[in-house]
Point group: C2
DNA sequence: GTAGGTGCAAACCTTTTGCAGCATG
DNA sequence: CATGCTGCAAAAGGTTTGCACCTAC
């Protein structure tokens, strides 16, 4: 199963970084990988607690921080102050369009966009670590709904 | 003076929206317009209190929300959970590079970037209202500092 | 006069932290 | 068996809200 494989990759990577592999981390990682949505920390906590009710909130936050640092998870601000995460394993980098009406998130990618961002940074000697591009607006369905 | 003129534009626009023009709003708007930095709500509060010590925190937050809705102010997440604002009056749109070491913010603009974003949105029928592009990394000075 | 704005303080929400006990490597 | 992880609960930080009073229109 693909999930087990990914789970193994994360385990190996974290252990290589000197982290211990606990039952909680295993559960949190598995749950995060299995979630094909952009989740909040609280949502992830709930999902984990459905399996093991005594996982603590602090552990979820701490594990998310580790995963983010290791590059397996990426945080994105939703523009309204909220924070959501997505796992990026076997997920090539992409940007997001966020519908302001239904909160749907659409992913897209444009190579030329990436290149030009790098070029702009190079121009002022800025070393890029990551970037975040979000386009806010109204998705096709909500435009229709409004009219209809 | 340019500031007075801008202040007048904001006043007119807010009144047209049915808002009342109070001494507090006037002060908050003037202060925000005069600040040529990316400020937090708390910093704006402090600046206002330097003039009138009894301006309340709630009023600053409420006014910032109105200004943002009216398009005079734009919020940007700093990537570390923080939120900063900038006024966008007579300020053409630009994107930001945020140094993760010294927190400096560099503004840049690339027409082709804008065009390609619009094109990507059009492709899926998404109506763009605004966008936010932030590049995180290390600025030239901090790269030097690290080496030196 | 009335709807909207204000100040205060408390509530809220999300995230972080201190600490004592526990389990991994 | 030492160090890192966990759970708990409390603290922290930023933002919002309820309410009574005030004021622009």
């Amino acid at each position: 199963m693909k999930l087990d494989q990914e789970h193994g990759i994360v385990q190996a990577a974290l252990q290589k970084r000197g982290c211990r592999w606990t039952a909680q981390r295993s559960l949190i990682v598995r749950t995060a990988l299995a979630t094909h949505r952009h989740f909040t920390a609280e949502e992830l906590l709930d999902l984990c607690r459905a399996v093991d009710p005594k996982v603590s909130r602090a552990t979820v936050y701490r594990t998310l921080a580790v995963l983010e640092e290791a590059g397996f998870v990426e945080g994105l601000d939703t523009g309204d102050g909220g924070r959501r995460f997505e796992h990026v394993l076997n997920h090539e980098h992409h940007d997001h369009m966020v519908c302001q009406r239904c909160a749907s998130i659409f992913e897209f990618r444009d190579e030329e966009l990436e290149r030009r961002q790098d070029a702009a940074a190079r121009r002022i000697g800025f070393k890029v670590e990551r970037h975040s591009l979000r386009i806010y607006g109204v998705c096709r369905d909500c435009q229709k709904a409004k009219r209809g």
